[in-house]
């Protein structure tokens, strides 16, 4: 179990992460969501011992990151957002060095299995700089798995990948959850969080503003969304608590002679509402605001 309390990080005069407290249960896939610059990567860097918190504490299975860093390090595997493979070394050599650093036993077999799983066995002796972007990302992910860590940290695992590759990586992550591993993912692709995560925490400006299952978040923020275009052609999306509210809003918009769509809310609507972006208040009368 991961226990985080009061975790804080400053950069210069800016508070990158502010007083973060939450727990991640064993075996769950936990998502950290947030717009760019919300503090996701800073949080992951603190959780993976790269960055020292300025305040607060962080524990895995009762081991404290400051007192027992080795206990933490021997439990985690990390896929960083920035590719930090050795570009001049081959795919095989990259896995070999990483495996040795983590004391992996039965190395040859494990590397062979790993490279076959990610379809890179044929390319094992190619230097990394000669591999395509998608191959490098797969290798980066596979490297994190190699020591069979009990907790995996994946920082934006599918950024910049085509839809097929993204689904391929999602499958790998789902498989690891079945194996009972804890997975912590940061992403700004909402559908990724919705597809994978048992619970999500939403970060905004370094603070945690919501934390729950995707379903509970939708229930709390609103199950329905009414979409229409305002006078300037901007898309307005209204989240409504329940079906009755959604119907009322739909009716008002329709009476103005505008096209309107009513649909179920998704995690993106929740995210947008909570992080306060793209939410427009204009274009509605006071009564409409009252309904919302």
């Amino acid at each position: 179990m991961i226990k985080i309390s009061g975790l804080t990080k400053y950069y210069g005069g800016i508070t990158a992460v502010n007083d973060l407290s939450f727990e991640i249960k064993e075996g769950e896939v936990f998502g950290l969501l947030g717009p760019n610059g919300a503090g996701k990567t800073t949080t992951i860097k603190m959780l993976t011992t790269l960055s020292r918190p300025d305040a607060g504490s962080y524990m895995i299975d009762g081991f404290d990151v400051v007192k027992d860093p080795y206990e933490i390090k021997s439990r985690i595997g990390v896929m960083p957002q920035e590719n930090n493979l050795d570009r001049e070394l081959t795919a095989y050599e990259n896995l070999l060095i990483y495996g040795m650093l983590h004391g992996v036993k039965d190395m040859k077999k494990k590397i062979t299995d790993t490279l076959k799983t990610i379809d890179l066995w044929e390319r094992r002796d190619s230097v990394v700089s000669g591999l395509s972007g998608g191959m490098q990302r797969r290798l980066l992910l596979a490297r994190a798995f190699l020591p069979e860590p009990s907790i995996l940290f994946l920082d934006e695992p599918t950024v910049g990948l085509d839809p097929q590759m993204r689904r391929h990586i999602w499958d790998i992550i789902r498989k690891t959850r079945v194996e009972g591993r804890t997975v912590v993912i940061t992403t700004h692709y909402i559908e990724e969080a919705e597809a994978l995560c048992d619970r999500v925490g939403i970060l905004s400006k370094g603070s945690l503003i919501a934390l729950d299952t995707p379903d509970n978040l939708k229930a709390a923020v609103g199950r329905y969304v009414v979409e229409f275009l305002d006078g300037d052609g901007r898309l307005i999306q209204r989240i409504c608590k329940n079906y009755n509210n959604a119907r009322k809003v739909t009716k008002i918009v329709r009476e103005r002679g505008k096209g309107v769509i009513r649909r179920r809310s998704n995690l993106e609507d929740v995210f947008v509402k909570l992080t306060g972006e793209r939410i427009e208040r204009e274009g509605l009368s006071e009564t409409e605001k009252g309904i919302l």
Binding site: L50, S74, N84, L85, D86, E88, L89, L101
Partner: protein, 247 residues
């Protein structure tokens, strides 16, 4: 497990092997000392007699010390710096369950191999010149210690430098002057008295003193002690910098 320095060392060696296969590396490692050898040794040195023997006899051990310093230091400093700031591969060392001193040992041993390799090239050239140059056990021990010392210093600058340009600045301010004023090219008894204290602070001076000795004496022992103390100090400081690493 925590003292598992081997993967760090192995990684550097794999990279080094790739570099060796590129011809440019060998050439550039040898270029500077050979230029010095030709310019000072054969050009200037023909008309100079030092301590009763030829200038080449004096120069070659100094060139070996200088080359071992340059190569041990520069390769460690610049590859660590690049790996930390640019390629970010240093992150996987920090995230691995190994101690800061294991990272230190792996990087330093790799730096020593690179320094010894370049020194070996100069030693071979030394044997080819008519200088009566010979390799004693004391020479080998001093060479190893010098490589160790400057590889440690390389880790220190590699960790401290905030950019790759910084590494070059450190090199220009400390390594370059040391190459010229530490008794590589001329004996220190010819140096004005007021500069001497500065020169005796520089570690390379002491490497040059010991590496030229036929047998250990009191002066040699003091210099040897200075080299060991500097090495330990840089090792401890470098390990500390790695321990306090934070992004």
């Amino acid at each position: 497990m925590r003292q598992n320095w081997y993967p760090i060392f192995l990684r550097e060696m794999l990279l080094f092997r790739k570099r060796l296969l590129r011809l440019g590396y060998l050439f550039s490692a040898m270029l500077v000392p050979i230029i010095y050898l030709i310019a000072f040794g054969l050009g200037l040195g023909r008309s100079v007699q030092l301590q009763g023997s030829s200038y080449l006899t004096f120069l070659i051990p100094g060139l070996v010390a200088m080359t071992s310093m340059n190569n041990s230091y520069t390769w460690v400093a610049s590859s660590l710096n690049l790996n930390r700031l640019y390629f970010k591969g240093f992150q996987i060392f920090i995230q691995a369950p190994i101690s800061p001193s294991a990272i230190m040992v792996g990087e330093v041993l790799a730096g020593m191999v690179k320094g010894l390799f370049a020194s070996l090239l100069i030693i071979i050239v030394g044997f080819l010149t008519p200088s009566g140059f010979s390799v004693t056990p004391l020479f080998v021990i001093t060479l190893l210690l010098n490589c160790f010392l400057f590889a440690n210093l390389g880790v220190v600058t590699g960790m401290l430098a905030k950019s790759h340009e910084d590494t070059a600045t450190y090199s220009n301010f400390f390594i370059m002057p040391m190459a010229f004023f530490s008794g590589t090219f001329f004996p220190l008894d010819k140096v004005p008295a007021f500069i001497k204290p500065i020169i005796y602070i520089l570690p390379l001076t002491h490497a040059n003193i010991v590496i030229r000795k036929a047998a250990m004496d009191q002066e040699g022992l003091i210099s040897f002690a200075v080299l060991i103390i500097c090495s330990i100090a840089f090792f401890v400081y470098g390990s500390r910098l790695i321990k306090n690493y934070t992004e």
